[in-house]
Structures are given as C-alpha cells and as structure tokens.
C-alpha cells in the first residue's frame, strides 16, 4: 500500500529535491528500503556502515518513534506517515 515518507531538508538533495516520497510497504523497514531503491544516494546518509540507522537519524511512524515500537518491523497502513528527522542539539 502507498505510504508517504516526509524527507527533511538536508536529505532532499539526495531525493531529487522532493519533500515527500511515496513508497509501497507494509512495514517501516520495507518503506525505507523502497525509499533507498528509488533514491540510492540516500543510503549513506541514513545508514552507518554496519547497516543500522545512523544514531542521529530519528524515524517516526506518525507520532511514535520506531525505536519504541518494532523498529524496522513496525507495521504501517495507508493512512500512516513516516517522518525522518535528524537530531537537533548542541550547546556552549
């Protein structure tokens, strides 16, 4: 089923400048795989060399962090939106 993935500003250059990419998936993992298949340049910006999501990359299904759901196995349905947001932090 079609799922929307919201692409954050820093990743849009690697997603043909799109802010929303529609993928076909039944889980978050499948959605991200479809996203990478459509835009291969995204892979190194989302994933570390060990194949895991980079620590500062947060992936949400609607308003829930997939880390606290079933991670890549988190199911998705057509009305769901996947958001990718890199962390924002710092300090003097």
């Amino acid at each position: 089923m079609p799922i929307k993935i919201l692409i954050p500003t820093p990743l849009r250059p690697y997603a043909a400048k799109q802010s929303i990419v529609e993928v076909t998936a039944q889980t978050v993992g499948e959605a991200l795989s479809d996203l990478i298949a459509k835009h291969p340049d995204l892979r190194k910006h989302l994933y570390a060399e060990d194949g895991k999501l980079r620590s500062f990359v947060n992936v949400y299904r609607n308003d829930e962090d997939i880390r606290y759901l079933s991670k890549d196995a988190t199911p998705v349905k057509e009305s769901d939106t996947i958001s990718i947001v890199p962390s924002v932090a710092g300090g003097r």
């Binding site: 919201l6 954050p8 500003t9 820093p10 250059p13 802010s19 929303i20 910006h45 980079r54 500062f56 947060n58 949400y60 308003d63 962090d65 939106t81 958001s83 947001v85 890199p86 962390s87 924002v88 932090a89 710092g90 300090g91 003097r92």
Partner: protein, 148 residues
C-alpha cells in the same frame, strides 16, 4: 549566503533567550528557500529544551516535537530552514558541541549571546558539507522590516 528574518521574529527568538536565562533556549525556524539557496524566515517555533540535566550549557529538541513541527510546516507550505538557541553569558559563536550535534546541512543555526539576562549578539551559521566533513560557515543575517 543570506538568511532574511523579519524584525518581529528576530526579536522573538532573542527574547526567548532572555526568558530562559540562565538556561539555553532553543527553537525552529520555518520559511522558504529561493533558487539561490537563500532563506527567508516566515515563522519561529519555540521548543522545549530536554537537557534538563544541563540546561545552562546544553540544549536538545525532542525529536517528537521536530516531527510535529516538520509535518505542520509542510502542510502550511513552509520548510524547516534552521534552528536557534542561546548561549547564556557566552559568545554567539558555535562550539565544538554545536558542530558535533548539528545534522541539518543546508540549514541555518542561529546563536544569541545572552549576557546577564539581556540578548546581545545574534549570529547565523550555515551548516555545510556532509556528516563526515561538515562545517559551519558564517552567514549574513538580514533583519527586515517586513511583517511575518
């Protein structure tokens, strides 16, 4: 590169730093990119600082809050163009921590020095490069009299 911001929004983010003093404030800048990559801020979203363990010298915006802000911004036809935070009694200059924790390349990071509770200087820095070779570039901050 230039970041344009209406005076009302510029004042708002600086006042946020005064309100949270002696702790760091933080928030999101929403706006538009033009073809040349210049940015115009249309809205400022104040955020909470989750670093309650060390708020005087650290900030962190809850990812859940970022998700909501990004989603609502898209619905309003706006983009996340940057972020702001304050440095209580410290220069408006990015730190090693600021750079290490910055991941939104192409976006602006505004820093306001707040001395004794009063906002002094606000500087803008553009995050450039890729994660493995990222750096901040000084960015021209143009405060306009245009209404947001």
């Amino acid at each position: 590169m230039t970041l344009k911001i209406p005076r009302a929004l510029y004042d708002q983010l600086r006042q946020h730093g005064e309100a949270t003093y002696p702790h760091e404030c933080c928030g999101v800048l929403l706006g538009e990119f033009n073809e040349a990559g210049e940015k115009a801020v249309k809205a400022v979203v104040q955020c909470g600082n989750t670093r309650t363990d060390s708020p005087a010298n650290r900030y962190h915006i809850d990812a859940a809050e970022l998700v909501r802000i990004q989603r609502e911004a898209m619905l309003a036809g706006l983009d996340v163009v940057g972020f702001y935070h304050s440095h209580p009694d410290h220069p408006a200059q990015w730190s090693v921590t600021d750079l290490a924790e910055a991941h939104w390349t192409g976006c602006s990071y505004l820093i306001t020095s707040v001395e004794g509770g009063h906002a002094v200087l606000t500087n803008s820095f553009l995050l450039e490069g890729v994660e493995e070779a990222k750096h901040f570039e000084d960015e021209l901050l143009e405060v306009t009299e245009q209404k947001p």
